[in-house]
Symmetry: C2
Subunit: 359 residues, 2 copies
Amino acid sequence: MAQTHTVTIPHFVTEASVELTHLTAAYAMYGTPHIQPDGRSNILLVEHALTGDHQVDQWWGPEIVGPEGVFRTDQYCVLSINTLGGCMGTTGPGSIAPDGQAYGSRFPALTIRDLVHFEAAVLDELGIREVAAVIGGSMGGAKALEWTLLYPQRVRAALVLAVSARASAWQIGIQKAQMTAITRDPHYLNGDYYHTEHTPQQGLAAARKIAHLTYRGELEMDERFGTDAQTGENPLGPTLADSGRFAVESYLDHQASKLVERFDAGSYMILTEALNRHDIGRGRGGLNKALASSTVPTFICGVDTDILYPYHQQEHLARNLGNLIGMAKITSPCGHDAFLTETRQLVQIMHRFITRIST
Amino acid sequence: MAQTHTVTIPHFVTEASVELTHLTAAYAMYGTPHIQPDGRSNILLVEHALTGDHQVDQWWGPEIVGPEGVFRTDQYCVLSINTLGGCMGTTGPGSIAPDGQAYGSRFPALTIRDLVHFEAAVLDELGIREVAAVIGGSMGGAKALEWTLLYPQRVRAALVLAVSARASAWQIGIQKAQMTAITRDPHYLNGDYYHTEHTPQQGLAAARKIAHLTYRGELEMDERFGTDAQTGENPLGPTLADSGRFAVESYLDHQASKLVERFDAGSYMILTEALNRHDIGRGRGGLNKALASSTVPTFICGVDTDILYPYHQQEHLARNLGNLIGMAKITSPCGHDAFLTETRQLVQIMHRFITRIST
């Protein structure tokens, strides 16, 4: 784990014109940044996923980020900024506003573009004009794509994994279902629960279970659990109330508990909504025109069994991007999460990417 | 629409040994039943899906059931029985128990086998020993499969659409998420809400939206709605509370409202749980042994874009069934619901089936 640093952003205005002041950004660095006189740097900006954080080595591991990783930290400097709207050190809805109270429902709805503009402000504060590459999967991939269109002069290349050019109707539907699970929790209080004794943890748990089912492939899950009963429980009881759990329910309960312990429901709402609002084409003449206008060398990667961001969405990106430098498909029973779990394939793909942009 | 008839089943015991008495079964017939002296009949037993009903012509239409349908009602008699546990005339959790109160939480958890044993009791009451075929999709397909194993002497053939040999872990997970949406509704009262002024309609609506996203293909949904705003609303407002809906949200709200008007949350719980408990292999030496033991000529059909019952599950059925007479794949952007919506393909598949079993 790397040390968490912070930097203050004095002023920020969202895409929907909400002004925030005195924001904090948390970030971590792996390796030493080198910035040449012309501004070129050895920095790889790695974007984390929705409930991830800036501790990249904790989720991508040393095969990817480390002295012997594919992103060699004796050569490159991996920088990761905790997302605006989150709850891991950067300002989010649970942070204290200038009036001394938590933002709660006053915290603005954010778009992926907002998250990227905020990161650009962080780079400004750090004196970084340009990065060698921006790299990310899922929400991190959406950010990487927006980087290439918002700041093409600041990004020399991009590796975009397991994401699309915009939210699909299905994604919006399933993500709104998760948000409904949270808003229907009586402890949510329209987002203003930070001063109370309770948090909407049951709602967040219900949301995470739905999300997890979109992250994991049904094949992998079925091979592990099938219709097995949870040990010591009978899921086939005489009434619903008398019935225990299937093993897969226990697994999902465990996944949900883990998230509830480490993540804030308000941040989950804001970041899920940012994904609903992801749309490369907005204000740029539509999706394909926007993609065609991209000048940044971009490498696209998807997962064959992803139901959240199906592979045809990455094919769409690849067909329309203005400067495609490569494409790869991860083959996995794991679904969307393969961009985190299939290390051997990821290392190969990242090696192709890093070789291509180094020469 | 056909006339609804009812018949009384005096006594029924579930797989988990709960006894029910004085049950009502609602059913409809299209065409005239002919029963030969040896018991052979011209009856096609059509099984409806979870929130469907016995009015088959209302959901499969006249191209399928009618005088000029592929199931010609001047030749065959289409019989459909409303499912046990439902709310459309057959006994379910909202029905009045012998003590004069609604069953509510006392209503037993049911399995697909229970639903089939109940239908066999209905056929007994109607003096029908054998049907020419049993036909169904989704929950109806699960019932059709169980018919071939529980009562092989009473079913001359089966057409099984868009279902699997057992629930998958993913299905159980997403179906339990729907059940959680209902149980977390404060009006659910552990299932004992029938005597109150309220019903858990918000919970049922939330459940249906999740379900609908597993029924419809993401391609079809995305082509219709994409990231469009609902007319007159701004989904990109400055805060979450200030934001209107995307068009897909309005569509899902509408789908949910339609269901809430016509369906009972308690029945939704019981029937969803019956699908969780669907397992052809239980007590039969496992899935493949159970399927291999099947003697009833069975035709399998799936949908290429179904994420609820992916096509590999129908391939599994086809590979292992003891008496497979055919297989078909519906190609559609509509996902699971294609077994209801792709009439042209369905008619062709059903024609192959009916021809094969008539000769």
